[in-house]
């Protein structure tokens, strides 16, 4: 149990008195409030003491995401995230021993059914129906032993709010807020869910996840566009698959697949937990040590082997759709840890933050060809080289072609002319203010601390980044724009309107 960090108040004072960049000044005052605490098993806690209302945000970041999936199990990182709400051997069961046996019968029945369903020579419909019926019956038997949603029920009853989780390309996050006197309950539940999860009701929850895919991707014009866009932009790297997974994989992966995934990645070396609110670190550390030391150590997620090869030609995908047109264009760029990361942030900011931004002024305000136009980084993830993307919605009577022309004008200008000092100054001012505004909410702070700790191994990078932006020059932006915005580095995805029945 090493105590790291927690610089003394005097150290902080000294730091503040020295002539130091703004980021460091803010860092000094924040550092006083942060306790960094690492368990022997590798789990890192970041505890931020914030006086005020007796409430606390808890945020568990796990270093695993859809980028850890391979063909056949796409969507599994997200699927496990759903399963992490289903309880443990103690929570959510009437009788775990009997339930474990029932679950084994479900697995066996599913395999028999799935083998017939996907038999290469075609399945026998009668046999398939029988096996499906048998599979359903074993599920019903197993459900008899389930205390439905007990995990969520305990949290609801104890005043927990905002229970949720999210899965992205590089990360899976679990979050909840509790009144400040519920720390021990949280520590118990959160350690228990990752120590001893039981993947009960797996196949029903898989149906729920399929509904989520239909909701977010298949039935949404933007969802359809994004899926085609990323799968076109990447030919090798797992970023090519959006996290929700392919429908055929969702229909096929198994409870054992999910357990295997859990075994490989859900260990304390891969977890960072931030706790923000009206708590005293010294008071809660013994409690969290007690519960989280129970987790078995494991291996950190290995870096991905596959590196996206350099793009050698423009890639274009055009989607006929009944919806109004949408435009997306992306360029490959390096990972978030690259020194130029802040240059991309500054470029995106100048292009599309606020009403003084270039895309707003040109496409929205003056040409009136776009209802919205913006640029952003870190798509679909940011731990690995990713995309800077541009997205626009044409106004009625205007086309994706017009958007493309106007957008390229602005992109070319970044290459041919230096940005003005005034614009760059606005970026710097805004980034500093945003850092302060980011400290307004417990959940926001918790997420930021965990994110920077995970990506850089040090949450202080959140503040150092501001200093790096402060040091940027117009030449930096031009250099990166010239290196990035090239035809051969580009992917364009458009959705164009086509409706009605064919003749």
């Amino acid at each position: 149990m090493k105590r790291l960090g927690r610089r003394g108040a005097i150290g902080a004072l000294l730091l503040a008195l020295m002539v130091v960049p703004v980021g460091a000044q803010d860092l000094a005052s924040v550092e006083e409030r942060v306790t960094e605490h690492r368990l022997e098993n590798g789990l890192t806690f970041l505890i931020y003491e914030r006086p005020g209302a007796p409430v606390v945000s808890f945020y568990t970041h796990v270093d695993v995401g859809s980028a850890q999936e391979v063909p056949g199990i796409t969507g599994l990182a997200h699927m496990f995230e759903h399963m992490a709400f289903k309880g443990t051997t103690k929570i959510g069961t009437e009788d775990y021993e009997a339930e474990a046996e029932a679950l084994a019968r479900v697995d066996a029945a599913y395999h028999a059914y799935d083998a017939e369903r996907r038999r290469p020579t075609g399945s026998d419909p009668e046999r398939l129906a029988e096996l499906e019926q048998a599979f359903k019956e074993t599920q019903d038997e197993a459900r008899e032993l389930v205390k439905a949603n007990e995990f969520g029920e305990i949290i609801d009853r104890s005043g927990g709010v905002g229970l949720n989780a999210s899965t992205a390309s590089d990360r899976t996050d679990y979050y909840i807020n509790f009144p400040a006197n519920r720390v021990e309950l949280w520590a118990y539940l959160e350690s228990e869910r990752f120590l001893d999860p039981v993947l009960r009701e797996f196949y029903t929850e898989r149906d729920v996840v399929m509904e989520e895919r239909r909701l977010r991707v298949d039935s949404q014009p933007i969802g359809r566009l994004i899926e085609q866009f990323v799968s076109t932009a990447y030919i090798a790297h797992p970023y090519q698959s959006i996290g929700i997974g392919h429908m055929s994989d969702l229909q096929s992966f198994t409870r054992e697949d999910a357990l295997e995934f859990y075994d490989a990645y859900y260990n304390p070396s891969n977890m960072i937990i931030s706790i923000v609110g009206a708590i005293d670190a010294d008071e809660i550390i013994p409690t969290i040590d007690q519960y989280f030391s129970r987790l078995e150590p494991g291996e950190p997620t290995p870096p991905l082997r596959t590196v996206e090869p350099e793009q050698i030609g423009e890639r274009i995908v055009r989607i006929p759709d009944p919806a109004q047109p949408l435009y997306a264009e992306g360029y490959h760029r390096p990972a978030v840890t690259h020194p130029d990361d802040v240059v991309y942030d500054a470029l995106a900011d100048i292009l599309s933050t606020g009403r003084t931004s270039r895309l707003y002024r040109s496409l929205v305000r003056d040409k009136k060809i776009a209802a919205q136009a913006f640029a952003f980084n870190g798509f679909p993830g940011n731990k690995y080289p990713n995309l800077m993307i541009f997205f626009a919605m044409p106004t009625p009577g205007h086309t994706n072609d017009e958007i493309q022309v106007a957008l390229r004008e602005e992109i070319d200008k970044l290459k041919s002319e230096l940005v003005s000092e005034e614009e760059l100054e606005r970026v710097k001012t805004r980034v500093k203010a945003n850092l302060i505004r980011g400290l307004r909410s417990n959940t926001g702070i918790a997420r930021q601390l965990a994110t920077f700790q995970a990506l850089f191994g040090d949450w202080r990078e959140l503040f150092h980044q501001v200093d790096r932006i402060e040091a940027l020059t117009p030449e930096d932006l031009q250099r990166v724009a010239r290196a990035t915005f090239k035809e051969t580095n580009r992917t364009v995805a458009t959705l164009y309107t086509e409706q009605g029945d064919e003749g």
Partner: protein, 708 residues
């Protein structure tokens, strides 16, 4: 080895803290009492001019935020200008003030990383300010100017209209918001302000004068609540606010207008077809209650039992147990100034639509027939009471809530009494409110989705009414027509000039004509070449042959009937389509020339125009059901024609604009050889005529449907 390490860690932990023992079951965990906590309480006072101020210091971060609530709302706008309030709320900020243009404001604020924003919702207007504390003396005056002296510049009004029109064009793209919107309109009924929608025409009707008048009507200090939170000294801030707002004279107070809601509710089953979705989007419900209802608290508890958290009935039974949906929710809705909408919603794959509707109805009914158990009741109340402290999570939140309650006339101690009100709710109360406020037998059901994939027809739930959500086309920007003797006479004159130029000396000698055209159709930047062979035998026999990349398509109308052919397949044309083909002939230039003496032909002059530098006179021509406007030049040639019709590919209604050129003489008649067509301002087709024949030999078999 690893095990040893963590065991060691455990021993150290236990040794260090013998008092805290790790529990094996969650129910063994004891909670210390929640720390004593002084609930922040804003200072509330009023300026002489009636402006109400709520003030609370928060020195954690060097920031200051102001939120103003203004007594106004889009529900009070005239129906013909639906969208006025929303646009006013937008342009109030973007359109600048008396001392700074909108663009200058953008630069001034953004260079200080500050923001001032305004908006108007259904029953409230907002103005917000967010700044670093060090800039407050610069930003506060800007905030006051935006509130008090907005300029509403024309260019930003125009921009706001483009944005509003874009939202109209896209409003049916997102199936979930489309379903929610249409369901709300069903619940509130067509007479309610809550059911109004912005249309191209209502946006078009909004003027700068409307915005100025709206501001003048509602924006008086006695209609405004201002809340300030952040890093300041209260005494100093009070002085600044008095200085900033004190000189603003009071005006007429606005107490709110009447909001129509139906007094009687009828059940019904409604459907909207959407071909690009794989789910059925389902809503069930009816009118709800207001916050002022004495049963509000039992309703809150019932809502928690039914649709609260992970353990509530809807989530547990429909999602976790049946796997029918990702999102399923439902509650008795509450509103401040009008009843909320009680809505049960979910999305499920098309193939389980029927099963899902059954399941959802079962839970609505079940809330009445299957009373909340003691456990459910306790869980719901614990959940509400134990999380109650989150209502005070930040000072900004406390301030916002107090302003909200004050604005909508809820008691000042609404929140203080909330806990005891919830504690007092009994199982009998929940049962009573379930019976009183849930009306499954009067509920409306709306399903949006792809009917052909449903597990059973929607009609199995009752007689289905299909809703039309087609977006009405923008109004045509044309000079208004005055129907006077003069305009009729002038119209007849323009028409005569045209028919004698195009129709030659003997239009009645026209028996038939045939044209062959190359047409390039463009859609979203892609183009397609079509060869079009058009045959017309007066008065009403038509054959159109289209040669397209995907094959040949033929359409024939003859003797009041019609058919279509694609390859060897032919199928009958529906009677309404036949009728439309015939009536559309009334827009054909040669047809108009041929029947210039028809008794039902009406021509009215509609002002003068110009096409590609050539002056022309507009005439609106009506023949049968066909209406179009022609711009006819001095030589009688039609330069441009405008009319409303439906898009040939999308079927969407639109404004058509056809420009004619390259007139050539064919057997004494004038025939244009180039035509370009735009729909709603977007180029759609460009036509080059290859040949035109007057009174050619026409083989009668062209109009016969081949035997199957």
């Amino acid at each position: 080895m690893m095990r040893l390490c963590s065991l060691l860690a455990l021993i150290i932990t236990l040794a260090a803290l013998p008092a805290a023992a790790q529990v094996d079951d969650h129910s063994d965990i004891e909670f210390p009492p929640l720390a004593e906590f002084e609930i922040p309480s804003p200072a509330v006072y009023e300026l002489d001019n009636g402006l109400k101020i709520f003030l609370i210091e928060d020195h954690e971060l060097p920031l200051v935020q102001i939120t103003a609530r203004i007594r106004t709302g889009s529900l009070y706008e005239p129906a013909a200008k639906t969208g006025l309030a929303g646009i006013m709320g937008e342009v109030q900020r973007t359109g600048g003030t008396r001392s700074m243009s909108g663009d200058e404001l953008d630069e001034f604020l953004e260079s200080r990383a500050a923001s001032v924003e305004t908006s108007i919702g259904n029953t409230v207007g907002f103005a917000m300010m967010d700044t670093l504390a060090e800039d407050v003396d610069e930003i506060l005056p800007v905030f006051v100017e935006v509130l008090r002296y907005p300029e509403f510049s024309e260019d930003k009004l125009e921009l706001a209209k483009v944005q509003a029109n874009s939202a109209i064009a896209r409003r049916n793209d997102d199936v979930n918001s489309l379903t929610s919107r249409e369901f709300s309109r069903l619940v509130y009924g067509e007479d309610s302000q809550l059911s109004r929608m912005e249309e191209y025409a209502t946006i078009d009707a909004i003027t700068r004068e409307d915005l100025i008048a709206w501001h003048a009507k509602y924006y008086h200090p006695n209609n405004i609540y201002v809340g300030v939170v952040g890093d300041f000294d209260s005494a100093e801030m009070k002085r600044k606010l008095a200085e900033a707002f004190g000189s603003w004279p009071a005006g007429p107070s606005f107490g709110g207008g009447e909001i129509q809601v139906p007094s009687e509710e009828e059940p019904g089953v409604y459907f909207i077809e959407k071909s690009d979705v794989t789910q059925a989007n389902i809503r069930i419900g009816h009118l709800g209650i207001t916050y002022h209802n004495p049963d509000y608290f039992p309703v809150v508890v019932m809502n928690e039992v039914l649709g609260g958290g992970f353990s509530a009935r809807l989530f547990s039974r429909i999602r976790s147990e049946k796997g029918l949906a990702y999102g399923v929710r439902g509650r008795v809705g509450a509103g401040f100034l009008h009843p909320g909408a009680t809505t049960f919603s979910m999305q499920t794959k098309s193939e389980s639509m029927g099963e899902a509707v059954d399941a959802l109805f079962k839970e609505v009914r079940g809330m009445i027939t299957e009373p909340a158990t003691e456990k459910e009741l306790q869980l719901a109340k614990d959940s509400i009471l134990n999380s109650f402290v989150f209502n005070y999570a930040s000072k900004a939140q406390v301030l916002g809530q107090q302003m909200l309650f004050s604005y909508y006339g809820l008691p000042d101690d609404f929140l203080e009494k909330y806990r005891s009100n919830i504690e007092q709710v009994t199982g009998a109360d929940v049962q009573r409110v379930a019976e009183t406020y849930l009306h499954p037998d009067k509920a409306k059901l709306l399903v949006v989705g792809k009917a052909e994939d449903f597990d059973r027809p929607l009609s199995s739930f009752g007689k289905v009414t299909e809703l039309d959500i087609a977006i009405p086309p923008p109004p045509v920007r044309e000079a208004a027509i005055e129907l006077t003797d003069e305009t009729r006479a002038a119209g007849a004159e323009i028409l005569a000039r045209m028919t004698s130029a195009i129709g030659g000396e003997t239009p009645q000698a026209l028996e038939a004509f045939r044209t062959v055209d190359e047409v390039v159709v463009s859609m979203q930047g892609q183009s397609m070449a079509i060869r079009q062979d058009f045959v017309l035998v007066f008065p009403d026999r038509i054959r159109v042959t289209l040669q397209m990349p995907m094959g040949e398509q033929v359409m024939v109308v003859s003797e009041g009937q019609g058919f279509q052919m694609m390859g060897p397949q032919s199928r009958e044309m529906p009677p309404d389509q036949v009728q439309r083909q015939i009536s559309d002939l009334g827009r054909n230039l040669l047809y108009l020339a041929r029947y210039r003496d028809a008794p039902d032909l009406e021509a009215v002059a509609a002002g003068s125009g110009e096409v590609d530098g050539t002056a022309c006179g507009w005439v609106q021509v009506t023949l049968g059901e066909a209406v179009s406007r022609l711009c006819v030049d001095g030589e009688g040639m039609v330069r441009k024609q405008t009319y409303q019709s439906t898009h040939p590919f999308t079927g969407a209604p639109g404004n058509f604009e056809v420009v004619f050129s390259d007139y050539r003489e064919v057997d004494g008649y004038l025939v244009p050889h180039r035509q370009t067509t735009r729909i709603d301002g977007v180029e759609f087709a460009s036509l080059t005529r290859q040949s035109a024949e007057i009174n050619p030999e026409i083989d009668a078999s062209l109009f016969e449907r081949p035997a199957a």
